[in-house]
């Protein structure tokens, strides 16, 4: 029998190794797998490369992972946050690397990684500082840059509901990077607010087919990052 449900977030992240590349879903707090990130903080793997659109808020979740000095490098499109100085301070001191990627290029590189496409051309960043040092090629009458696939050792993803095969559905704009990050990692670890029996998700509405998911953890009432930030909470608690 296939059963991808694991007992705890702790168990789910236990093989994330020092130096791993880890994709973390979410756009701001929407879709950020905060309980899995906290388990990764407890686990303590260091020297990580994190692929995520932002760099977290306050002193919880992704910001806390960075503050805990577990991250060597961020690959993201928007590392500034109104209410967090964690990344900017380390970056200004030269203590964390940044690979800044236009958001659509970031999404497409992740999808390419999961789809066996090693590289593709895109118009974004041509003739800008982010296009420097990239190979430029003309198709038709327009210039494009060559971009390479991104893959990861692990992805940490938040979804609304899952079944034991790892089929997933999401909630509203919390979907964002989740489906493509599930595709892009060798080991995709998902936290789901609800676990449904097999067949409990209509096959027409599955957003992430289970083939892209390795482990599912049931986190019935995930915390809201914005609530924790408003309460000035810090992780570890």
């Amino acid at each position: 029998m296939i059963d991808k449900i694991v007992g705890s977030a702790k168990d789910a992240v236990s093989d994330i190794f020092d130096g791993a590349v880890v994709m973390i879903s979410g756009f701001g707090e929407a879709g950020s797998p905060i309980e899995l990130i906290h388990a990764l903080i407890d686990h303590g793997a260091r020297n990580l490369t994190i692929v995520s659109n932002n760099t977290g808020s306050g002193h919880v979740g992704l910001a806390a992972l960075i503050a805990n000095r577990q991250v060597r490098k961020m690959i993201c499109s928007f590392p500034r946050t109104a209410n967090s100085k964690v990344f900017p301070e380390l970056y200004t001191k030269g203590e964390i690397e940044l690979e800044l990627v236009p958001q659509g290029t970031l999404a497409e590189r992740i999808r390419a990684g999961g789809s066996g496409i090693p590289a593709f051309y895109t118009p974004a960043s041509v003739n800008t500082p982010l296009g420097l040092n990239k190979e430029v090629r003309v198709f038709g009458e327009r210039s494009y840059v060559l971009e390479h696939a991104l893959t990861a050792d692990f992805s940490l993803v938040k979804c609304r509901a899952a079944d034991r095969y790892g089929n997933l559905v999401y909630n509203k704009t919390a979907r964002n990077f989740g489906p493509i990050m599930c595709m892009g990692a060798r080991t995709t670890i998902v936290q789901a607010s609800e676990i449904l029996p097999l067949g409990g998700i209509d096959p027409e509405i599955v957003i992430t087919p289970g083939i892209f998911v390795k482990r599912v953890v049931h986190i019935p009432n995930p915390v809201h990052e914005s609530v924790l930030v408003a309460e000035n909470r810090r992780y570890p608690w």
Binding site: A30, P79, L100, Q103, G104, I110, T128, T173, N176
Partner: protein
């Protein structure tokens, strides 16, 4: 800037798919004319974005690109980030309304970084939007807070895209970018061409019918 936002809204045809940048561009959504339907796209995964909900009704998992709570209208749909940027890069968005730090005479846009050595660079989806949307419209104060022109011969800030802006709406005028030149198509009430030119860092042309 609400009158400028109204002007932008009046120029967007019925049935358009529109992406609004963070900040002043968001005002445009308040002014859709009666009888017109415009579908707003937010690049974090929603077509059919509706107004901001009341303070206690927000869902932290229903947000816009500026990470503010929003709503979804009937006929809306959610999608993931790769599909969202397929819409953008693939030329399916009719209008993208963006803010600007600088716009050049031939339509170069700088709106993501002042290039200061200590600044944390952050680009988001701006480079994809200017590369992909059919019409790039800038809405901006005509000058900076320090009174410096934002419309210039050549941008000094790092570019978001080269030759991408189609039209500029400011508190002083509406200006089209055509054939690498700036054509004034409308002056705000009480603003003379001479005043406009004196506050602009690039040479302006007057549309004959303006």
């Amino acid at each position: 800037m609400s009158e400028v936002a109204l002007q932008v809204a009046l120029d967007i045809p019925n049935g358009s798919y529109v992406n609004l940048g963070i900040g002043i561009p968001e005002l445009v959504a308040d002014y859709v004319p009666q009888g017109r339907e415009v579908i707003y796209h937010t690049e974090n995964g929603l077509l059919g974005m509706g107004p901001v909900p009341s303070a206690d009704a927000g869902d932290p998992e229903l947000i816009n690109a500026g990470k503010k709570c929003i709503t979804a209208l009937p006929g809306a749909c959610f999608f993931h980030h790769a599909d969202s940027f397929s819409m953008i890069r693939g030329g399916h968005i009719d209008y993208c309304v963006l803010g600007a730090l600088q716009v050049s005479a031939d339509g170069d846009l700088a709106n993501w970084s002042t290039g200061e050595p200590n600044a944390i660079p952050a680009v988001g989806g701006a480079m994809d939007l200017v590369a992909g949307a059919k019409n790039i419209v800038v809405i901006s104060q005509h000058s900076t807070k320090n009174g410096e022109p934002k419309i210039v011969e050549t941008c000094t800030y790092p570019l978001t895209g080269k030759k991408v802006v189609n039209r500029i709406y400011t508190n002083l005028a509406v200006i089209d970018v055509k054939d690498n030149r700036l054509w004034v198509s409308k002056l705000a009430p009480g603003v003379s061409f001479e005043y406009l030119q004196a506050n602009t860092g690039a040479i302006l042309q007057m549309e004959s019918d303006c």
